[in-house]
């Protein structure tokens, strides 16, 4: 008995509340996220030295404003990937949702009703994916792929030409620029309601994942779905919920994107699901599920956004090469994850 009890703790028994320092000490789970933060900082430093005008109010404002839709998508994708699933439908959901929104708004619908409908469209696609996965035992990859084709097809049936939102539409108010700090020349700190929406989404997601039973069940499912079932956790309900969350946030991202650009088209959002997945992976969430942080995904989205800024500034890199660089960064992070997983196996 005594050997059993003494074996596990190395060194003296720790106090019930470890110091802040030990809790912040990087462990294997936070390592990839930490790496993402370091890379982000590294990119900022490099950009500032090489091109200048990176660490200033208007660059940061633009980074947030231009990427708020991606941040929202990445948050939704984080939930899905944490359970070990994937949602390929979000890009296409944005297309159908924003097309329906623009067309109805132009037809004179109440803007609030339009926004609600746009979000509900997203939720409906998410629910459909969830039902396919949970009750018809379809792989998440296939179920959401089917939803992607369905959504994209419906969008193409509605219109194949760009639909322009009228400039005076109240929906566009969501991208009103509020100048917080009026800097010299154009160097202002600006935010839009869209940025606020993204921030609120991130905060709520953080709360749900770390402070609710739903969130803990998400992590448990990612760790081992079989165990979660045997522990009596509400696995079915939770998995349905996370696909609804992902769909809903895709609908919300459609609102944010439409209000900013004022245009909806059936080819809007092609490949965005992959950007969102990339952001989540770069942010340190394990593709196999069970480990990762929503804040990491935000950093991941910002890394992608900043990379575009740097490429534009550089000028010598053709924009076509952007995807190669994205792929390269992604590869580095996946390799890093492999390292983490193999280290974990050994311990």
């Amino acid at each position: 008995m005594s050997t059993l009890l003494e074996r596990p703790t190395s060194g003296p028994a720790r106090s019930a509340r470890p110091s802040l320092l030990t809790r912040l000490k990087p462990n294997l789970e936070t390592l990839p996220t930490l790496a993402a933060v370091l890379i982000f900082i590294g990119m900022i430093v490099y950009g500032e030295i090489a091109y200048g005008r990176i660490v200033q109010a208007n660059t940061i404002s633009n980074l947030l404003i231009n990427n708020s839709y991606l941040i929202i998508l990445a948050v939704g994708m984080t939930f899905v990937i944490l359970t070990g699933g994937v949602d390929l439908s979000v890009g296409a959901v944005i297309a159908i949702s924003s097309l329906v929104g623009v067309m109805l708004a132009n037809a004179g619908w109440n803007p609030i009703a339009v926004i609600v409908l746009m979000i509900v469209i997203g939720s409906a696609f998410g629910l459909a994916s969830g039902i396919l996965i949970q009750f018809f035992n379809v792989q998440p990859f296939i179920a959401t792929l089917a939803m992607m084709f369905l959504a994209r097809g419906l969008a193409s049936m509605l219109s194949t030409t760009p639909e322009r939102l009228e400039d005076d539409s109240p929906i566009r108010a969501l991208s009103t620029e509020w100048t917080l700090i009026d800097g010299p020349k154009i160097n202002d700190l600006v935010i839009t309601p869209n940025v606020l929406i993204a921030v609120v989404v991130v905060l709520v997601a953080f709360f749900v994942l770390h402070r609710t039973r739903l969130g803990r069940t998400v992590y448990a499912i990612g760790g081992s779905e079989q165990s979660a079932l045997l522990m009596g956790l509400p696995v079915v309900r939770t998995k349905l919920t996370i696909y609804v969350i992902s769909g809903t946030l895709a609908g919300l991202a459609a609102v944010v994107y439409t209000s900013k650009l004022g245009i909806a088209q059936n080819i809007t959002g092609v490949g965005w699901e992959l950007d969102a997945i990339a952001a989540v992976i770069i942010g340190g969430t394990l593709l196999t599920g069970g480990a990762g942080f929503v804040l990491g995904s935000v950093v991941g989205a910002l890394v992608l956004g900043l990379m575009n800024v740097l490429i534009t500034r550089d000028g010598s890199i053709p924009p076509e090469a952007t995807t190669i660089i994205t792929g390269g960064i992604l590869l580095v992070f996946v390799l890093l994850q492999r390292l983490v997983v193999s280290r974990k196996r050994k311990t």
Partner: protein
Amino acid sequence: MAITEPIVEMEDISIEFPGVKALQNVDFRLFPGEVHTLMGENGAGKSTLIKALTGVYKIDSGTITVAGGPRTFTGTADAQSAGISTVYQEVNLCDNLTVGENVMLGHEIRGPLGVNWRKTHEAARVALEGLGLGHLDPRQPLSSISLALQQLVAISRAMVTNSKVLILDEPTSSLDANEVEGLFAVMRRLRDQGVAILFVSHFLDQVYAISDRLTVLRNGQFIGEYLTHDLDRTQLISQMIGKDSQVLAALGSNRGRGVVDPDARPFYSAKNLGRRGSIDPVDIDVHAGEVVGLAGLLGSGRTELGRLVYGADRPDTGEVLIDGVATEVHTPTAALAHKIAFSTENRRDEGIIGDLTVRENLILAVQARRGWARPLSRKEQQELCDKYLVELNVRPADPERPIKNLSGGNQQKVLLGRWLATKPELIILDEPTRGIDIGAKAEIQEAIATLAEDGMSVVFISSELEEVVRLSERIVVLKDHRKIGEIINGPEVTAESIVDLIANEGRPEAVAEAAGLELVETEESVA
């Protein structure tokens, strides 16, 4: 003890699966404050009975009474909310979360700001303390503690839900002796608090050490309920396997037959075979017709050595002679080409392919050796099945049944058949008898003895030292990833003498002297 009312009473339970009567009119009762062991061979219906109680399987007839009222559950979660918690053989926790989170999952203490982690971890600490695990930090990751402790964490999780009934389904199969003692201490503590514990184990010693009462099942039928001290081991074994236990005793006479001439050229001979971080360089010889046992505690390097011999892990030192010819065995493909086969200890993940049929599982290795371009004809497949299903007494002997529907012991027999079908000259068997019942165990031991008699070389790995002693010609003893000695088996060798050797590894000569053993000189043991 029996004055109180039973908390669980199952009467006349029958369950039928397509073609199989899994349970027939089985009675079972469980009293508060007792440890009640469910005994039976694999396939006797133990797991089915547990699953019937927790609602995983629907019962076809019979009644289940819990705490005085008739109940039928719809699944684990439902049973749990009624106070019946189950801890399975494979620890079913999430190792990506902390100890405390695992204990409290689904029961986190919530405040106005969502889950209150301070209070939740505090509650987890209290629950762990209740089982004498107060030293465990609830905030450390589950993956950082040993499997044995994880098992105890799973039990404290059950206690958080205030369970009145705790089902422990083979909790000891991957624990060493000390860890089992720790588990038993916890079980006794819970029993004294009035928890009813349903225990399943294949280890007779453990059953006698912990249980108050036994229920024996055989072939899905109720054989009897006994107070443990009313039934001695021989009687119990006869009840379980329904035949005389002389069969088991007879096996022991095989050991140390001395049929192998130690000076003859071994079939397999390795010098300094090792791999950094896995096992220190080891010398090992295996003669034709010889069973070489690898003995050692869990984590001593038994499996690692087996995998090196097979080339499943690439050795980074050492030379290997096969039939006197220097050979490199760095991959399983090379091993198979040299007629070396390896049967894994991890039956579920590395052994069977659950959804394939018995036939498909059986022919897998033969087919892999022939290559996909030359598929085995249906007739050849059938011949292989006929031969090995009969030879190894696989039950049911139905080649078209998905293998996952067979009991563990029968799955193991099919796996053995899979490798035997490749006609190996050396077969490495890693824990071939783990987690299977005594009847199947005897059959597999018998099969191994027969194989050796027919001239096959066998490397036999088992955590049950008695079994190693019973079967092996020579025993290689490992500790902390190195070889600490080698023993020629004989009548004076017992499991205890191996334990002594491991315990006193610094002075193997002294131990050997004391035990009167013949010790083979090895560089490692001197070093």
